[in-house]
């Protein structure tokens, strides 16, 4: 009967975990838990996270591991659902006894996992979520962010736009939910500061099928620039429909870093040409480190890395540096080591700001040309980062 089966399984697992406790913990491999969406809408992002981390782990292990210990990754599917993410994260912390956790994509999962990390006295990091709140008003002493947040992206993009098209009229089209609205608001304030007038704004429901109903308003306001923060399938529809309606001529489309990515650029095709965004990474970055990274990534996965893959790849090297500096995997020591840590990534040097656990990094403005993200501008890390708004620690 299944109850007894459950009991046997549970009892067996409990006994097994009890054994691995303690003795093996400091000498065996360093375990890093990855809670990331492997099913559902965010699967493509989860795939990049996985590829980036796996490549980094392979390279670190080939180079002798972290402080002489091998790294092993333990994956769990979070289904892009915070309720599942927390359950799986707890499994990794409690049963797998991972030393560190990463992988969450949507900000709800990241925030919930941050709280769980606090309650389990473990550390976690995100390489994808870019909601400002994660390192501002909802910052956590146990959560780090190594990717660029929304404000860094919009500062970089707005600075470029002010140079490229001074005082151009901007129309805003965002997905109608909290994240979409705050991203639009962030860019709007940056753009207005640099003198770009606002032509109007509209918020379309998430997963909109047809954007044509908003085209009339856009045409009527005659903007030179369209800013959008839609993502995934929504971008495919928005941009291809704009193209079908012939609206892309004489219109510069700019957007959030997640708007056009390596996952959807193929489906967007021609309509993506000329799209510009502020982002922390492009495979086109012309440094030896990046070229090596892109080559290795391509060889392993038959696909180009994007910002998610690159940020996830870089994270493991930060963790390696921190553990080696701390001489331990203990939470408090590693936290101290991560604070203010500078390390090299394919994206350039990154530094984790001690005050809010947000990584500072050079920001790039990239524009799509022939299906590739060409770098057209670069903003220094300290210019893009913005003030430290975390008051908890």
């Amino acid at each position: 009967m299944k109850t007894t089966g459950y009991l046997t399984v549970a009892a067996g697992l409990l006994a097994a975990t009890a054994l691995t406790d303690g003795a093996l913990a400091q000498s065996g491999p360093i375990k890093i838990g990855v809670v990331t969406p492997l099913s559902g809408t965010y699967t493509p992002i989860g795939q990049q996270v996985r590829w980036g981390l796996e490549l980094a782990a392979k390279e670190i292990n080939a180079g002798g591991g972290i402080a002489g210990r091998q790294v092993s990754l333990v994956f769990e599917d979070e289904e892009a659902n915070p309720a599942v993410a927390v359950q799986k994260a707890e499994k990794l912390f409690q049963v797998e006894k991972v030393d560190f956790l990463t992988g969450t994509v949507n900000s709800g999962s990241t925030l919930a996992v941050a709280q769980l990390a606090e309650r389990n006295a473990k550390l976690a990091a995100t390489t994808v979520s870019f909601a400002d709140s994660i390192t501002t008003d909802k910052c956590s002493p146990n959560m780090f962010r190594v990717n660029a947040r929304a404000e860094q992206q919009s500062v970089a993009l707005a600075a470029w736009l002010a140079k490229e098209k001074p005082k151009a009229k901007v129309y805003y089209l965002g997905p109608d939910y909290e994240m979409g609205r705050s991203t639009v608001a962030a860019f709007k304030s940056s753009a207005e500061k640099s003198g770009a007038p606002t032509g109007g704004e509209v918020f379309a429901p998430l997963d909109s099928k047809d954007y044509t109903q908003y085209f009339g308003q856009i045409r009527a306001s005659r903007p030179q620039v369209l800013y959008t923060s839609v993502a995934g399938n929504d971008t495919v529809r928005l941009l291809t429909q704009l193209q079908d309606f012939g609206l892309l001529t004489n219109l510069q489309v700019v957007g959030a870093s997640g708007t056009v990515t390596s996952q959807n650029i193929g489906a967007i095709g021609q309509a993506a040409e000329g799209f510009a965004t502020g982002v922390g990474y492009s495979p086109q970055i012309d440094t030896p480190e990046n070229k090596a990274f892109v080559a290795a990534f391509r060889a392993a996965n038959k696909a180009d890395p994007d910002l998610y893959g690159a940020d996830s790849y870089g994270l493991l090297f930060a963790y390696k540096a921190a553990v080696e500096k701390a001489g331990s995997t203990e939470t408090d020591k590693v936290r101290e080591a991560l604070r203010g840590l500078s390390w090299q990534t394919p994206q350039g040097a990154k530094t984790i700001r001690a005050g809010d656990h947000q990584a500072m990094q050079p920001m790039y403005v990239v524009r799509v040309a022939k299906g590739k993200f060409d770098i057209i501008d670069k903003v220094d890390a300290d210019k893009a980062i913005g003030p430290d708004a975390c008051t908890r620690f």
Binding site: M1, K2, T3, T4, Y6, L7, V9, A10, A11, L13, L14, A15, T17, A18, L38, S39, E76, D77, E79, N81, P82, A83, V86, Q87, E90, K91, F93, Q94, V95, N106, S107, G108, L111, A112, A114, Q115, L116, R119, A131, S133, K138, D176, Y177, E178, M179
Partner: protein, 347 residues
């Protein structure tokens, strides 16, 4: 006892007893080995079992399939979370969540109970969808991110108190509450009122001509189901410390329906077994493939087609036979007066 429905309910109670025994054993093993994860996972399974229980009350007894029961689960969870953020009191949070879901399910019932069958399913689906979307867009409720920072509370029972952060303690509290909800539901279903619900499922058109208001009976069971879902949902933020709009989404409602089908429609205890089973299946399948939907979808279809009464429906008749055999050996006690029993013997 020869009344079939009462007999079935007794068989369910036996299975409930088995479940509680197993749960207590798990708690003991967990406490002895200092486990956290499995106890908390079990706690979560029980909380979602409460939701499944409410789906079974509707589907298994009055025959109404709700595809949006997570709505009340979510309302319970959010109200409990909001209360706990202000006042960290278990009883206050439960009362507030109960009150809110009571009102919400009365409103929802007034809308949904105007229709039957598949239309009921579509309306409950749409209702949950719309409310979830509103929550998803309401900044005051944390919008798409949900709300974190719900404190770990102390649950006071007179002189003793249990921390929601204590895996064994909170597991036992949740076990008691969910089994309490099961007990109340099972009791009500074996009263004359509950039999009206069974009658509704058997032949709804006949019921009004016996003098019962169909609307009132459906409404009562809908509100009761909403309340059960809401009280279960209220426990969620105490366990996990956060709420998110996904708790109201179709995934949550759908999982509850899957649990009920796996465990057995109309068996009540099956909902709880089904929920535990689903959590177990997901964690086992999830560790070897991310394509768990294929496996769960297939198992679900097989259950709908070949095991319409689920696993408990498969086991329970065997228990009923045992009970019947046991009951017939002594001098056949029956609910009807003995004189009439004798009189009704074959002429």
């Amino acid at each position: 006892m020869r009344d079939r429905l009462t007999l079935s309910m007794r068989a369910s109670h036996l299975l409930a007893l088995v479940l509680v025994t197993a749960a207590l054993a798990l708690a003991a093993i967990g406490a002895a080995s200092g486990d956290t994860f499995y106890l908390r996972l079990g706690t979560e399974a029980l909380i979602f079992a409460g939701l499944a229980l409410s789906v079974d009350l509707l589907l298994g007894y009055s025959g109404a399939l709700s595809l949006g029961q997570a709505l009340y689960f979510g309302i319970g969870a959010y109200v409990s979370a909001l209360t706990l953020l202000k006042v960290p009191s278990f009883w206050l949070a439960m009362a507030a969540a109960g009150g809110a879901t009571l009102i919400a399910s009365i409103v929802g019932g007034l809308i949904a109970n105007r229709v039957r069958g598949v239309y009921f399913a579509l309306i409950t689906f749409g209702l949950a969808q719309v409310v979830a979307k509103v929550v998803y867009n309401t900044r005051e409720l944390g919008a798409s991110d949900g709300m974190i920072g719900i404190p770990v509370i102390e649950i006071g029972f007179g002189p003793v108190s249990v921390s929601a952060g204590n895996p064994v303690g909170f597991f036992l509290v949740v076990l008691a509450i969910i089994m309490g909800l099961y007990g109340i539901t099972a009791y009500l279903l074996d009263t004359p009122f509950g039999r009206v619900l069974t009658a509704l499922k058997a032949n709804e058109k006949r019921v009004p001509f016996l003098g019962y208001s169909v609307w009132r009976a459906r409404m009562f069971s809908y509100v009761l189901a909403g309340l059960i879902a809401g009280l279960s949902g209220a426990l969620y933020p105490m366990l996990r410390g956060f709420v998110s709009p996904e708790l109201m989404f179709f995934v949550t409602s759908g999982n509850a329906v899957i649990s009920v089908i796996l465990g057995g429609v109309g068996t009540l205890i099956g909902a709880i077994y089904g929920s535990v089973l689903l959590v177990l299946l997901k964690s086992i399948i999830g560790s070897w493939t991310e394509h768990h939907l294929i496996v769960i979808g297939l198992i679900f279809m097989v259950c709908v087609m070949f095991l319409p009464k689920g696993l408990v429906g498969f086991i329970r008749p065997r228990i009923e036979q045992r009970l019947l055999a046991g009951a017939q050996k002594p001098a056949a006690p029956s609910f009807a007066p003995a004189r009439l029993e004798a009189g009704s013997a074959k002429p």
